[in-house]
């Protein structure tokens, strides 16, 4: 299925055949298309890594900046023009490693953006080292004896920091992934979608089958507005829950709290500078 987000000429991707990123790209474009989003109103803010290259393959606005810094860029974009739909996207190393501090504070701010993290538990572009989400004992060319650090738990961290939408998807199930992504885009406030996906080149342990065997979908009776229940789910590791694990739309967004938009809803680029007022300000000194 082609969408408005496809290029006329399909660009050559730098992903390996069989990579989970293909499914994420396809589904994200479809989800955005089905939500009738105008590509002119969409910005993808991406970092660096195999996952972050996704911004190259979507026909819309993009800011493909530094490794780890997609969230500050996205924050600047959204705060300057709240009319834009902003997606901050990258891999587990990009968002949780290099950008870890920004991940914490973007959540606290509750900026109305969608934060999509391709989580394959390994570094791809640098050829196979451990990522913050690598499981213990995972052996790599750098962690020769296996990973000894605790894996980073983005779901638990996000919920405890007050994230207003926290979800996990699996790239092997495009139908569910699309629904989750659509929910995330529609959500007002910060939305995290951590997507499990296999790395066919560097992670032979957490492969397609492993993700399939080690995940399950939350059932219909699960109340995803109960924060404590959500935290319990976040700590389940024998089988990882998939779906919208926590949601809460009560908090004001970062942009709504900015005094700049209190009496004037126009984005910053539409505003004029009142030099007379500045002259008066100086004269009042």
């Amino acid at each position: 299925m082609t969408t408005i987000f496809d290029f006329d000429q399909i660009p050559e991707t730098s992903w390996c055949p069989g990579c989970g990123n293909f499914a994420i790209l396809k589904v994200l474009k479809e989800a955005l298309g089905e939500l009738n989003i105008d590509p002119k109103n969409l910005v993808i803010s991406a970092g660096i890594g195999q996952a972050a290259k996704i911004s190259q393959y979507i026909n819309a606005n993009c800011f493909n900046g530094l490794h780890g810094r997609a969230l500050p860029v996205a924050t600047g974009i959204k705060a300057s023009n709240p009319d834009l739909i902003v997606v901050a996207e990258g891999g587990d190393g990009d968002m949780y490693g290099e950008g870890g501090n920004h991940f914490i504070h973007a959540i606290r701010r509750n900026i109305d953006i969608v934060n999509i993290v391709h989580n394959n538990m390994v570094y791809g572009l640098t050829l196979g080292q451990a990522s913050p989400t690598s499981r213990k004992e995972f052996k790599t060319p750098l962690q020769l004896e296996g990973v000894s650090s605790e894996p980073f738990n983005p779901i638990a961290v996000a919920i405890s920091l007050g994230a207003s939408f926290v979800a996990r998807a699996f790239s092997g199930d495009m139908k569910q992934m699309k629904e989750i992504l659509k929910e995330a885009v529609k959500h007002k406030g910060y939305a995290l979608v951590d997507i499990f996906h296999p790395c066919v080149s560097f992670n032979k342990i957490n492969n397609f089958k492993w993700f399939k065997d080690n995940t399950y979908y939350l059932n219909e009776n699960y109340d995803n507005t109960d924060k404590m229940e959500a935290l319990k789910k976040a700590f389940e590791t024998d089988k990882f829950p998939l779906g919208v694990i926590y949601t809460n739309g009560e908090n004001k967004t970062f942009e709504e709290n900015l005094i700049t938009y209190k009496n004037d809803k126009r984005p910053l680029y539409k505003r004029e500078v009142n030099l007379e007022k500045i002259e008066k300000l100086l004269a009042s000194n």
Binding site: N64, L66, K78, A79
Partner: protein, 563 residues
């Protein structure tokens, strides 16, 4: 008494010395006095010893002096650190138990004023700083109504009782001050009443507003934080987005997102924070997103002297960021230039899509002076954003290297920025020819800027034989020194644009037989830069790097020694 007076207030952190300074310089300026003040503070919240110097003079003054004519002692142990600045003529005012025996028995003129007792009479020690304000106002015989009004304004939110007590306190101090009969003879000038009094911090803040700044984010770091706090105070009125970033890395990236979406954004930081921003500066260079950074220097390396001053980060600003790319660096030396250059920084960043850095330092930022009011009709907020068409190419190759910059939702095209080397459309490429073209395109912007480059200013004799070179905050002290020396062979070249070197650099330096450079650092970073680009060397260097600004006396003495 003389017509150029230096008052020093010395006490502990937390005593409110800065409040006295602010109230007093305002009262002096509003009475028509030339005034300049500067503070030196310890990196602590309570205790220790902090001093503030207020100069009042017949002439325009913009420099720190060593000499102390009137010393106000506000705590114990407030004299020993500045002992070598006292002379036989210094009048020491304070209560006897704060002034150590050796000074009482020394050659100084001691005036015993029991500030604490007066404060207690009003209601407690908390009134000591307002008593001090009254005392100084009495010494300068400032109109009492003006003083009372300033108190009412200052305490307007604190309720009637507190205001009344403070008025009571200021009157008590005022009477004491008059009784001292110090015979001040500084002349007043009506023109000064119409001038505006501001701090270095405010000059950057006002300049930013005038440049159309509507977004600022920063991580707090002395001495740079005042700029974002100033803008925060005026954010509602001027529609400025204010955000305290989680770190400087976030700040430098956030302003790029802001410019990308059509804002005019800046960040403010000091050396350590700027070092963290380096990768972000490099990112701005390749994505060609405009950025404005205020870098308020303090002595390093690392934590160094957090509350002191130095011009040690010119090289940091010059070479920050990996890769080769253009940038523009300004270093205002007075507050009029601070406003003009900061204003201009936003227009230039927008036009040339390069990082523009404003270099100040603690001395500049924390000083106060009055300037002639500014005609804001001179300013223009120049907006270079273009409407995109369907085939918009973000990195279009042009003769001047400047590719028209679009923003999302303004036009029919997509705005695609990329930090990888990219083609004209913003797509990643490793094509060697495109790479070469893109590097050339970016570097060309510096050549294009050279047409708008700001010349160095010559102050003093036009037929100079000896030329003193200075940049940034040493402007005031060098200017005053050469005025005092009044030597027909001497001039001062004031560089307010330090990179690229102004177009007139070689010409003005070649005219001199002897070159002297004055810098508030240890390695003469600007001298080295000039040598690199012009091949010209400085025969004499006056360098200082103990954390303090140059004093007028030491510059005069060193220059005399060189002639």
């Amino acid at each position: 008494m003389k017509n150029d007076i230096s008052i020093v207030l010395s006490g502990e952190a937390g005593q409110g010395i800065r409040t006295v300074e602010l109230l007093m310089i305002k009262a002096l300026k509003n009475s028509g006095y030339n005034v300049f003040s500067t503070a030196e503070l310890m990196s602590r919240v309570r205790g220790g010893n902090n001093t503030t110097e207020i100069r009042v003079s017949n002439e325009r003054i913009e420099a720190y002096v060593d000499k102390i004519d009137i010393l106000i002692v506000l705590s114990k142990n407030a004299i020993f650190r500045i002992e070598n600045r006292l002379t036989r003529d210094t009048i020491i005012i304070g209560q006897n138990n704060f002034i150590e025996e050796k000074y009482i028995n020394g050659h100084y003129k001691i005036k015993d004023v029991a500030i604490s007792s007066l404060a207690k009479e009003v209601g407690g020690l908390i009134y000591s700083n307002v008593i001090t304000y009254g005392l100084l106002s009495g010494i300068f015989d400032i109109n009492l109504n003006l003083i009372k009004e300033s108190i009412t304004r200052h305490f307007s939110t604190k309720g009637k009782e507190i205001t009344d007590n403070n008025i009571n306190a200021v009157i008590k101090g005022f009477k004491k001050g008059k009784e001292l009969k110090l015979g001040i003879q500084v002349e007043k000038d009506e023109i000064i009443k119409n001038q505006v009094l501001l701090s270095g911090t405010e000059s950057i803040g006002i300049g930013a507003l005038a440049g159309g700044c509507n977004f600022i984010t920063a991580y707090p770091m002395s001495p740079s934080t005042g700029v974002i706090q100033f803008l925060a105070r005026h954010s509602e009125e001027f529609g400025v987005v204010i955000e305290q970033a989680e770190d400087e890395i976030s700040a430098i990236n956030m302003i790029q997102g802001a410019w990308y979406a059509g804002a005019r954004a800046m960040t403010t930081t000091s050396g350590g924070g700027f070092a963290l921003m380096e990768e972000g500066i490099s990112n701005a260079a390749i994505t060609e997103v405009p950025i404005v950074i205020h870098l308020a220097q303090r002595p390093g390396p690392s934590t160094g002297l957090p509350t002191r001053t130095e011009q040690g980060d010119l090289n940091l600003a010059l070479y920050a960021g990996h890769g080769e790319f253009p940038r523009i660096i300004f270093a205002p030396g007075n507050f009029t230039d601070g406003i003009y250059l900061t204003q201009k920084a936003f227009n230039l960043a927008d036009k040339f899509q390069v990082p523009v850095i404003i270099l100040t330092d603690q001395f500049y930022i924390d000083s106060f002076q009055s300037i002639k009011s500014i005609d804001f009709t001179d300013f223009k907020v120049e907006n270079f954003v273009t409407r995109t068409d369907k085939d918009y190419k973000r990195y279009k190759n042009t003769d001047d290297g400047i590719s028209p910059r679009g923003i999302p939702m303004q036009g029919d095209g997509f705005v695609r920025f990329d930090s990888h080397e990219h083609d004209e459309d913003g797509f990643i490429t490793e094509d060697p020819d495109i790479r070469t073209k893109m590097v050339d395109k970016r570097l060309k912007k510096l050549e294009s800027y050279s047409k708008e480059s700001i010349d160095a200013e010559i102050i003093g004799s036009k037929n100079y034989k000896t030329l003193i070179v200075g940049w940034g905050s040493t402007y005031g002290v060098i200017k005053e020194a050469i005025e005092k020396l009044n030597d027909n062979d001497l001039a001062f070249a004031y560089f307010k644009q330090v990179y690229p070197l102004p177009n007139n650099t070689k010409e003005i330096l070649s005219k001199a037989k002897e070159l002297i450079i004055i810098e508030n650092n240890a390695t003469s970073q600007f001298g080295q830069l000039i040598k690199r680009y012009t091949g010209m060397e400085f025969t004499n260097r006056i360098l200082k790097y103990n954390g303090m600004p140059f004093s007028l006396e030491e510059i005069i003495e060193k220059l005399k020694g060189m002639q």
